[in-house]
Symmetry: C3
Subunit: 138 residues, 3 copies
């Protein structure tokens, strides 16, 4: 059995991070599928998803780390081709990745107590984001 739906987010630009654990857990329940996996996918090349302990310290640490590792700048090939100022956004998003899969059992998401699902905006402008959810199981 397959159930597909999506989560909409309005983001404020680079470093804006949202917790979407509750949204994903709700869609598992709506799917009426008991056991399986849920796939979480950021549509677009400058956003990412993953798991983290979602608390204010790490919500700041993760984008700060990415901006130190892959800072904004004019020297990216992407910048020299397109001049849109978001070369670093693309590399940050590709490094973290757009795709996360998690298991669930008896309609409960399997995760650590302090392990939540985040969406991270890497682009430099506010964006309306679609996070596409697919629940697969029986």
């Amino acid at each position: 059995m397959i159930y597909q739906d999506s989560i909409s987010l309005s983001t404020k630009g680079n470093g804006d991070i949202h917790e979407i654990t509750g949204n994903v857990e709700l869609l598992i329940k709506q799917s009426a599928i008991g056991n399986g996996i849920v796939h979480i996918f950021n549509v677009g090349s400058t956003g990412a998803v993953g798991t983290i302990e979602f608390e204010p310290g790490l919500a700041r640490d993760l984008p700060e780390f990415l901006n130190r590792l892959i800072p904004p700048g004019k020297n990216y090939g992407h910048e020299q081709m397109w001049h849109d100022g978001n070369g670093h956004s693309h590399l940050q998003a590709t490094l973290l990745g757009p795709s996360l899969t998690m298991p669930f059992k008896e309609r409960q998401l399997i995760r650590g107590t302090w392990q939540q699902i985040f969406h991270l905006e890497c682009d430099i402008k506010p964006r309306n984001r679609i996070v596409y959810i697919t629940v697969i199981g029986e």
Copy 2:
């Protein structure tokens, strides 16, 4: 068809790496599912899974690389909030990710000869870990 089970690991703290290829291959056989995918998930926010050539050199190189890139320290927002000394552990684990999916066919895991599955402990203390396995296919 869905089959779910888990692997238990006792880890020794940051940088402790375990090979779990054999465990995953055994669970594929136990599932009695012929063809499909196997999903491997670290429960908790300070551990990660992935693939690597599992030999002593790389088993040292991977955690050393992560500790150079994201060293222990007091300047993480997480540290300033919680003072538990594992801000770097969270970022290392989020960067590698808790989730890996691999294909199998005729009950055989598809992988390179030198491509094994690892679990990496990023936390600073010994932990008892659950790696949750979901086999999906027909």
Copy 3:
């Protein structure tokens, strides 16, 4: 329903990047599965897959970033054990990861307009690569 197939690539060594979006979209159509997920897996420990805006600037930026972050060198434990010159290749590939999952609906891959699927060769020599594809859905 499950459909499995593979994509063959000839690569030119470290930094050689291929777009495989069209190949994956073709296999979804061949599968005759309407809705579900497609799993894309690099067989071998020195190649990776992911999503990126596939344009010449970023196609250069991504491998350049990885080679600055994890440069070739003699100091890797892998190098000291095996002397094959590709310690950095393994770490680069493990960091990006061998596995990508994407959703599709009504036989159409769900992705951003500028979000394409890449395969990145991290090894130091030309390689013949198998990217294993599993389509799951109904």
